[in-house]
């Protein structure tokens, strides 16, 4: 298990980084009218006078119990703030991932099956274009096309004015389905499309490329050739045998993309006013809300590491050759 030292190191890096951001938290908490004595007293109270080493261990101890301090801006625990905003980010990220897989896997398969055809070539170019696009630019262009010029999809936010959905999971689509609120569902989906496409384009391109290359590899293997020789219909071969085996590297890539999505969410959420963790990350940095920055970065990294672990496990489950 290497993730424990990695996570410890991550927490240390976050701790050091946040303390390197210019500015005295005590001064900031109290405002510029505060007297020197008040600042000194608060520094004492916040434990800022203790040796950094001690501070780190206290921070670690609290972090392990889920306590990351309170936001300077809202006064509420960072964990509460993040949990409040998690569903929005999760919904967006999952939608983006869904888009990436729903488009990327079939296109990748087709490209592999029709290797060297024009379909394959066009796919390659499009896939590379996908990873070459600045996400913020793509988001703006989508808004220009689909909101401004065509008036098909709304911008910004998650829901229109006047639409409310009873919160169960905090995610618009599942909650509106659970409460049979179809007006809300339709509205929520329309709001979700543009940011999900903007966020999902890079992963889509990566998934396409990965699916194609691993399909090619698998299809070159003996058992597929055998199946082919036995007269099995090619498309059945593709789906029943090749795709299943080709999914392994693709799953890995999807897992890795999930981490990139967390980063991409910062930009996408900011542009679309999504109100999730990505948006709060940037706002916290702009406001120098140290506890929040610490929390966002730490959770982001934690999440990323856990996803990678999960992918490893999933890999083991999917791959018949790996048995524990």
């Amino acid at each position: 298990m290497q993730i424990i030292p990695v996570l410890l190191g991550v927490s240390l890096i976050v701790f050091v980084m946040v303390r390197s951001i210019p500015g005295d938290p005590a001064q900031i908490l109290l405002g510029q009218q505060a007297t020197e004595e008040q600042v000194a007293a608060l520094r004492e109270q916040l434990g800022l006078n203790q040796p950094l080493f001690t501070q780190y261990f206290l921070f670690l101890r609290d972090a392990l119990t889920g306590d990351l301090g309170s936001s300077i801006v809202t006064g509420r625990p960072v964990t509460t703030e993040l949990l409040d905003r998690l569903p929005a980010t999760l919904e967006l990220t999952l939608a983006a991932l869904l888009f990436a897989v729903a488009v990327g896997v079939p296109v990748g398969v087709i490209a592999a099956v029709k290797q060297y055809s024009w379909v394959d070539k066009v796919t390659s170019v499009i896939a590379l274009t996908g990873v070459s696009m600045p996400i913020f630019w793509l988001a703006l262009i989508l808004v220009v096309i689909f909101t401004v010029n065509l008036n098909w999809l709304p911008f910004p936010g998650r829901l229109s004015n006047g639409i409310a959905i009873v919160s169960i999971t905090g995610m618009v689509v599942p909650d509106s389905i659970l409460t049979l609120n179809f007006v809300g569902l339709w509205d929520g989906i329309k709001h979700l499309i543009l940011p999900a496409v903007a966020l999902g384009t890079i992963p889509m391109a990566v998934v396409t490329r990965m699916t194609r290359s691993s399909m090619l590899e698998v299809m070159g293997e003996d058992y597929i050739r055998t199946a082919h020789a036995k007269g099995v219909v090619p498309w059945r071969v593709v789906f029943k045998h090749a795709l299943r085996n080709a999914m392994l590297p693709t799953v890995t890539v999807i897992g890795l993309q999930f981490g990139l999505l967390i980063g991409g969410a910062v930009i996408t959420e900011t542009i679309f006013g999504w109100g999730g963790i990505g948006q709060i990350a940037l706002e916290s940095i702009n406001r120098r809300d140290y506890a929040m920055i610490q929390g966002v970065v730490l959770y982001g990294a934690f999440f990323f590491v856990m996803i990678n672990l999960f992918v490893d496990v999933l890999y083991a489950v999917l791959d018949p050759r790996v048995r524990y």
Partner: protein
């Protein structure tokens, strides 16, 4: 945070000016979103079962009228004396009333919780307020002289057990110190006494010209003593006042909701006196930080009103029948300050040269359109005692060159020009203005490097004099000249850190005039003194004044009764929504 004082409202960014329409018409765009969404809005909410909701700013019982106000940032706190930012005060203004208020749309003082504006007694050392009868706080407690005394004592006495609160971002009663000189012995208000149930007397240590205007400011809203006694520390998130709306909920970082207070004392009062209403059932203050997104939300029908429009948005919105623009009367100034402590800005000729080299008229026209006027004095014409004779500095590059020659800088020089990173009501696009100035100054041989910082850092560093020149501005708090000239250009403001006087302009003669003007209550004497002060400032040119802006606000066409206040703190009680337009 002193620096944020008067820095009201999140502003907007700007597109330069009115132009012809290319390609898709603005109108077409504004129609979009609106139709489908409005349709959906009529269907309302399915099964709103009292639990938490997502979105939901419009979600309520059938027929409830909701005014959704879109703005650039969330509230910091709801204890009015412990905040300084406009986004907090606009909310507390709805929940609290002061003894006095500003007449809607002006900076004239009118009675609010007092029955009349009192006359100064004993040469301005005593003021007696008669209070309204039968006023109750939202918690049902009666409003009376004791409540007024309780509040002023809480603000003034540092050892008062209720001299606390405001949460982690509290401003620690800073508006009290800035308007009334300080706490305890330093306070100009020596004592406040309850003469009887409905009469309060204020005893001052010295006359204070802006006293009544100060009392009318939003931070001095009267809070329920019972609520404070119960939990003064938590009052900032659970405010109780006597205002037209009572606090409902606050989803931090997102929106604050207030609901109409049925027993409001002002319902039967005339609209001109700040009364009438409240007509809407609920107000939602929703923050959408991005300007373009906020206007899109207004156009799409997701907001009833949007603050912080860009001047360029004005024609766009005016063209749409479903929307309207209302501009806020100007009580602000945008300026380019020269750091007079640094070379070569310590030379008058250099400062004058720059004021001549910048084509301010063109800049104001380009970046503000019809929503601003080129500035001449260091305070806007809406402030009393504005000196009409002052003309804006003439644009004259040749004269600028010869002035530089005189200063021994005929070959030009290099300097930094700082601009703020975010839109402000008095300066929606500082980045654009700075680049235009850079262009003009290049013409006369001044090589300008543009510098910007994150907003908090910007205020901090300009407040320590690290700039050569910087763009900054000010929105007035109470419409008094003292609130502009004394704050921004007296030696008192030229502090080592957190300076408000970012020109570091120090002129003992001006200081004396300003002190005298603040300490007299004689109108004619004040007029004369302030005229002289404005004349001196014009000649010494510590600033190149840029403009007085009228920040535009956008509304759905069915909104009526909205009267923006120059101070930025209007009551929403008179706002009405026509049912048809929904």
């Amino acid at each position: 945070m002193q620096n944020f004082r008067g820095e009201r409202e999140k502003g907007a960014s700007v597109l330069a000016q009115a132009r012809g329409i290319r390609g898709l018409s603005r109108r077409d765009f504004l129609k979009l979103g609106g139709t489908g969404i409005a349709g959906a809005a009529m269907l309302g909410v399915a099964g709103c079962g009292g639990g938490d909701t997502i979105g939901g700013q419009g979600g309520g019982e059938g027929g409830e009228s909701i005014f959704t106000w879109g703005r650039g940032a969330d509230t910091v706190g709801l204890d009015p004396i412990n905040v300084t930012d406009g986004e907090s005060l606009i909310v507390t203004r709805q929940i609290f009333d002061g003894l006095l208020d500003f007449e809607p749309g002006t900076t004239d003082v009118v009675a609010a919780l007092a029955t009349a504006v009192p006359e100064p007694e004993e040469d301005g050392l005593v003021y007696t307020f008669e209070l309204r009868e039968g006023v109750t706080f939202h918690d049902g407690e009666p409003f009376n002289a004791e409540a007024v005394v309780f509040n002023f004592d809480r603000w003034r006495e540092e050892d008062n057990e209720f001299h606390v609160g405001g949460g982690s971002q509290t401003s620690s009663f800073s508006y009290y110190t800035s308007q009334f000189g300080g706490f305890d012995d330093e306070s100009i208000i020596e004592s406040v006494e309850a003469v009887d149930e409905l009469t309060v007397r204020f005893n001052l240590t010295s006359p204070l010209g802006p006293f009544l205007r100060n009392i009318a400011m939003s931070p001095f809203g009267i809070a329920s003593p019972a609520a404070l006694e119960e939990d003064a520390e938590g009052f900032w998130q659970n405010p109780v006042g006597t205002g037209p709306f009572q606090f409902d909920s606050w989803d931090r970082g997102n929106e604050v909701r207030v609901t109409a207070y049925e027993d409001w004392w002002g319902t039967d009062l005339g609209e001109g006196e700040g009364g009438a209403g409240p007509f809407v059932d609920r107000i939602v203050f929703r923050s959408i930080p991005d300007n373009a997104a906020r206007v899109a939300a207004l156009a799409g029908g997701q907001l009833t009103a949007a603050d912080g429009l860009t001047p360029d948005d004005v024609p766009t919105i005016e063209e749409d029948e479903a929307l309207q623009v209302i501009t806020r009367p100007p009580l602000n100034i945008g300026y380019l300050a020269f750091n007079t402590e640094k070379e070569p800005f310590d030379q008058l000729e250099v400062r004058q040269a720059i004021t001549r080299a910048i084509n301010m008229e063109r800049i104001v026209e380009s970046f503000f359109g019809d929503t601003a006027e080129v500035a001449s004095n260091a305070m806007p014409p809406t402030v009393p005692f504005f000196r009409e004779e002052t003309e804006p500095y003439p644009y004259d590059p040749d004269e600028a060159r010869s002035l530089l020659e005189e200063a021994g800088l005929g070959d030009g020089f290099s300097a930094q020009l700082w601009y703020m990173p975010i839109p402000r009501p008095y300066m929606p696009n500082a980045r654009g203005v700075a680049q235009a100035m850079q262009n003009d100054l290049e013409e006369v041989g001044i090589n300008v490097e543009l510098v910007t910082r994150e907003w908090g850092t910007y205020l901090d560093e300009t407040g320590r004099g690290e700039h050569d020149m910087c763009i900054l501005g000010w929105t007035g708090d109470n419409g008094d000249p003292d609130n502009f000239l004394n704050v921004l250009l007296s030696s008192r403001g030229a502090t080592e850190t957190d300076a408000q006087n970012v020109a570091y302009y120090q002129n003992p003669e001006l200081d004396e005039i300003l002190d005298n003007a603040a300490e007299t209550i004689d109108e004619d004497e004040r007029r004369e003194l302030y005229a002289e002060a404005q004349q001196i400032i014009y000649e010494d040119a510590p600033w190149a004044p840029i403009e007085y802006a009228e920040p535009p606000l956008g509304f759905q066409a069915n909104v009526s009764g909205y009267e923006p206040s120059p101070t930025g703190g209007e009551g929403f009680n008179s706002v009405q929504l026509d049912q048809e337009g929904a």
